[in-house]
């Protein structure tokens, strides 16, 4: 419960910052001004400015947007592709299950980073290519979780009951399997979200992610890495932001898992 609240608060804060950045940021985060470079923390610049004289707080806010955007799309795509794949593998014929499992192996074994490098080299590195690479790399985990969970659901008596009621396989997948694996998938999403945030940061750090001038936390880290000794703030701020985002999502995931666990749910309101 506590982790749900704490995780929710952290994630909420990031979402809020991202949303607010559409309407207002203290400064234009892309506005370069040599006169302002490397200013410390003061009233005008709450988190100071970077090498380009850009306001760090503003960059942080807009960077939250990138972070969420990459996470949402990558994880969303992975969930949308991986979940049906997993369900299909669980309920379809055996060979299909086997095939999906093997393809999963392959994708897992294929370096996601390489995909990012190749996409970046091929189409120009961008938030989009990073998103695709992260998304593709995330598909197997969804497919696997969905398949395992669906296989379990399919052996339950309520699925048997649904069949004897005359339900067709598709209806069973939609009405029974999906709702019962949804909890796990939500948890999986939140975990993947955290991983995606880290991956985006790592890719941006290698110059394979979000392109300038769009701010991104990974990019902020990369651009100020050399200033660690001179202006540690520039490394610490995005570093902490990334850590808090990942922490937030993983706490949220833990919280949701507890929340969606029928055993825990059952105790509270049994018998009424």
């Amino acid at each position: 419960m506590r982790s749900l609240v704490l995780g929710g608060a952290l994630v909420g804060l990031i979402v809020l910052a991202a949303l607010l950045s559409f309407l207002w940021t203290p400064y234009d985060p892309t506005l370069v001004d040599a006169a302002l470079r490397l200013r410390g923390v003061d009233w005008a610049h709450w988190l100071g400015t970077d090498r380009f004289g850009r306001d760090v707080a503003s960059q942080l806010m807009v960077g939250a947007r990138t972070t969420l955007y990459v996470g949402l799309v990558a994880v969303g795509v992975a969930a949308l592709v991986g979940t049906p794949l997993g369900l299909l593998a669980a309920s379809g014929p055996r060979w299909l299950g086997e095939l999906v499992a093997r393809v999963n192996d392959l994708v897992l074994a294929f370096p996601a980073l390489l995909l990012a490098i190749m996409l970046g080299a091929g189409f120009g590195a961008s938030t989009g290519t990073a998103m695709i690479a992260i998304g593709v790399a995330t598909v197997p985990s969804f497919a696997r979780v969905a398949r395992a969970a669906a296989m379990q659901v399919l052996t339950t008596e309520y699925v048997l009951a649904a069949r004897s009621a005359g339900r067709r396989p598709l209806a069973i997948s939609v009405r029974h399997v999906l709702p019962n694996v949804a909890g796990l998938l939500i948890v999986q999403s939140s975990v993947s979200f955290g991983i995606a945030v880290l991956a985006e940061a790592a890719l941006s750090f290698l110059g394979l992610g979000t392109q300038p001038p769009t701010p991104s936390w990974g990019r902020m880290l990369q651009e100020s890495q050399e200033l660690l000794a001179v202006q540690p703030r520039l490394v610490v701020v995005p570093g902490v932001a990334i850590a808090l985002a990942v922490l937030g999502f993983s706490l949220l995931g833990d919280g949701l898992r507890d929340r969606l666990d029928p055993r825990l749910k059952g105790v509270g309101d049994a018998g009424r």
Binding site: Y158, L160, A161, R163, S164, G166, R168, N180, A270, R272
Partner: protein, 269 residues
Amino acid sequence: MIVAEELSRSYRRPRSTPFGPRPQVRALHEVSFEVVAGQRFGVVGESGSGKSTLVRLLAGLDSPSSGAVRFDGQLVSGRRQRDLDFLRSRLQVVFQDPMGSLDPRMRVADIIAEPLVAQRIPGRAERVAEVLAAVGLPASAADRYPHQFSGGQRQRICLARALAPRPQVLIADEPVSALDVSVRAQVLNLLSDLVDRYSLTLVFVSHDLSVVRHVCDTVAVLKSGQLVELGAVEQVYRRPRHPYTRQLVRAVPTLRGALAGITAADLTP
């Protein structure tokens, strides 16, 4: 009404040795019987004797390895699911585990309405209310979730679901095995009532011969997938012919027996 003809079903187990054959488990072996309309047909047998396998075959939820199942003369076995609509509306199943056979994420009303939806039977809301009342659950139960009910109540929900499409045959697979004695009595009473009221044909599966004796008029005894004895329940109970049946009858501890001085040693062969 239901005819089983030389029903066999074997399962393949995973290999036990790297290059060996995949062992086959004969869950059911050449079982034949007939259930006539209005009959209360009991099936007993120990765990793993093939009772649930038989239920799945009778209900067209699984296909036999050989043999056939007929319902009212129509072939059930070997048909595709979508060709079994005639069966679905007329034959319903109640499963063993009252929690496990209810989708934890569906409301009771939706659970009960499921056969109606699947078979496109109109008038859902009224029918749900009707059967809820018939199994003795309050109308308010409709909006709640399975975990909010006790074991006996859940089994009532299962019964309500089975009754919803107005079936002629009810198959119950160990419907009271998971219940306490006191609740067992409630559910057995209810089941009897419903069978009487709707003139159902009942196939009742249990490992407990005394329960079958209470509920059924005819009993079939399964052992390791084979039908070892079939007959009127009282006759089988009092004069079991097959040694296994004898053993089964004997091993059941009874209060009367115990108080009359039967010890544990007497229960074993």
